[in-house]
Amino acid sequence: MPSLRPWWRDIELIFPLCLFVVTSIYLAASFEISTAFDSGFVNSAFVPRVVAAVMYVALVFVLRDVWRRRRSGAAEAAEAEAAGADWTGPAKIVALTALYIVAFRPLGYVISTLLYVYALFYLLGFDEKSLLKRVVYAIAITAIFYILFDAIFNVRLPKAGGIL
């Protein structure tokens, strides 16, 4: 049966392959660790190297399991389920959250959170017809957590121009 997904959406295969790359970078970086203070073979780099080696073995087992399941056709159901999952929704939320983090200090808690919550409502499909309701809810959520963090728990939240 032909695959329902483009190859880059094949998370079951792509994820362990990415971890292969990450482990290789990790292993290479372990050779940069200074061992000036150590005596004997068990130095600061020893455990990371063992972890990397075991990781390679575990990833081989993971890929073997994926290959076996595909051969037996058992992965078709999971594939169909994954094809039904939306990837653009999470990608938009990640991009929005990254923007929120960048804007958090310059815009201050109040403005950045208000915009963030409103945008989240939009992305999560909250009451498309009532703009006013979204605004009111966004103001309420921003205010509630401002009171919780700033007033009750004395957390110094960033303020734009020292006011908001």
């Binding site: 372990s30 068990v42 020893f46 575990a58 939320i93 909250f126 009451d127 957590f145 728990f153």
Partner: protein, 517 residues
């Protein structure tokens, strides 16, 4: 011992302080809410509480955690019974029996039995914790460095093999956690590792962004990925009969039929499964349920609305709460995901787990023990009585505002840790990582446990070797180490090798039968 008991009594007195009592009740209600809403968990509730603990005193923070833990374990039974969606994985068995009763119009009675089982099990688990803790601490003092290494290794292996059908993925997740734990200054030497030239990573990765990312941010992403998912969990109109408070009370005849022995045995099973690292409430509930079915006079009722099944499962999973505290407090080894986060609260507050913790910090720890007991025997029945009829409405909460709140608390909470947006970025990074892990079927909890246990594993291994002139045989010649290594082999055999052999034998048997005409 008398000093210890006086200290424990002091813990109950501390709960009488109106402020601490308020935190106890708020924690219980928050835990119940999070566990009753499908998709949210008590672990998420404590993860979101974690940043707040920076501003809280240690006693209210730990009291709140204990209340969330106990109520979270109990309240999972609410949606399990009413809409057949377990609010927590540990309520799976309750869903089978409770929902069968619900469909017969006896939902309130099923909720009553779940509450009674949780109350008895939670109470026994808390009492066992209080009584056994000093003995466990004395035993823990006997374990030396090589033994500690083997104990941590045992914990990690059990955590991984508990993922029965995904052991390779569990291993990958645990190793990934250990890899993240090695970032920053080495545990033994003043050497920076894996900082990739940035000073931001010299101090290592804080536990907070990992917890918040893995449990809160990833949950928001999962919700966003559900194409066409209902924006609320709506109940069929008219499907639920009007519930009166007296309907919740189990009758004496029903309790007699279940038998006190079932409650007691299930609670003890749950407690000891809780002590095992990585086992958790689901395994406790399943083992106690299976044992109750094996010994039941009416096993034919199991799967069709057995009150005995509900009592066994709920007693065990709530009793597990007490057991899970033991390895966490004595060795810093979390028994389940919730205690992993509670361990974060402890360390953020400057408390170091260890055999001497109870002896030296009893005034801080005793209120937490007392909170577990009070949550179980007072707040569980009280909550059901007061809020039982409204439980059904919890599941109809709109998801967009709920998950927006979670996103804001999570990210602002990550900022609070060091007043740095770098922590927020890390929380987002771990959220994305956990999202992909969940999508690909990797256990995110194992990532967290690997992160927590990794530094101990490395430290005890290297210290054990350096104390013995780099001679690795110390790990098999030291009696305590040998004991834990033997235990590791024992568990590995019974949880991995034997079931696999049995499966192969069954398959071969099936093939032979097919071939024989």
């Amino acid at each position: 011992m008398s000093d210890y008991l006086a200290g424990i009594l002091g813990g109950f007195v501390a709960l009488a302080d109106p402020v601490i009592l308020a935190y106890l009740v708020i924690g219980f209600l928050v835990g119940a809410f999070f566990a009753a809403v499908p998709g949210l968990t008590a672990v998420l509730a404590i993860a979101l509480l974690l940043p707040v603990t920076y501003s809280l005193d240690i006693v209210p923070a730990l009291v709140m955690c204990a209340a969330i833990f106990m109520s979270g374990m109990y309240a999972g039974s609410v949606t399990a019974t009413t809409i057949n969606i377990p609010g927590a994985p540990s309520s799976m068995m309750t869903a089978i029996e409770g929902n069968s009763l619900m469909r017969r119009g006896e939902g309130a009675n099923a909720l009553g039995h779940a509450a009674l089982g949780s109350m008895i099990g939670g109470g026994i688990g808390a009492l066992l914790l209080i009584l056994v803790a000093p003995v466990t601490a004395d035993i823990a003092l006997l374990i030396r460095t090589p033994g500690k290494f083997s104990l941590v290794l045992f914990a990690l292996v059990v955590i991984v093999i508990a993922q029965r059908d995904a052991i390779a993925k569990g291993t990958v997740a645990a190793l990934l956690g250990i890899m993240f734990a090695t970032v920053g200054v080495d545990v033994m030497q003043p050497v920076a590792r894996f900082t990739f030239g940035t000073e931001l990573l010299v101090e290592g990765i804080n536990m907070m962004p990992i917890i918040i990312g893995a449990f809160a941010v990833s949950e928001v992403l999962v919700q966003a990925s559900m194409r066409g998912a209902s924006r609320t969990v709506d109940l069929e109109a008219g499907a639920i009969p009007r519930i009166r408070r007296r309907d919740f009370l189990p009758t004496r005849a029903e309790i007699r039929e279940i038998g006190w022995w079932t409650y007691l045995k299930s609670a003890v099973i749950g407690y000891f499964i809780g002590v095992l690292p990585g086992a958790g409430g689901s395994m406790a509930a399943f083992v106690a349920y299976a044992e109750a079915m094996r010994k039941s006079r009416r096993p034919q009722l199991f799967g069709k609305g057995s009150r005995e099944g509900i009592a066994a499962a709920e007693s065990a999973n709530n009793s597990m709460c007490g057991g899970a505290y033991v390895p966490m407090l004595m060795f810093g080894i979390p028994g389940d995901p919730t205690t992993a986060v509670i361990l974060g609260v402890l360390t953020i507050s400057g408390l170091q787990p260890g055999p001497r913790l109870i002896e030296t910090q009893l005034p801080l720890i005793a209120p937490m023990f007392a909170a577990l007991l009070v949550s179980a025997i007072v707040l569980i029945p009280l909550t059901l009585f007061l809020f039982g009829p409204y439980f059904l409405k919890i599941v109809s909460i709109r998801r967009a505002p709920l998950y927006s709140c979670i996103a804001v608390v999570a990210l602002v909470g990550a900022y609070v840790a060091t007043y740095s947006t770098f922590q927020m970025a890390l929380a987002l990074f771990f959220g994305v990582l956990a999202f992909f892990m969940r999508r690909a079927g990797y256990p995110t909890v194992t990532l967290l446990l690997g992160f927590i246990l990794g530094p101990d594993l490395e430290q005890y291994f290297r210290r054990g070797l350096s104390l013995n002139h780099n001679d690795p045989t110390i790990f098999v010649t030291s009696p305590d180490s040998l004991f834990f290594l033997g235990l590791t082999v024992f568990f590995f055999y019974f949880m991995v090798i034997r079931p696999s052999r049995q499966l192969n034998a069954d398959e071969a048997d099936g093939t032979n039968r097919q071939q024989t005409p």
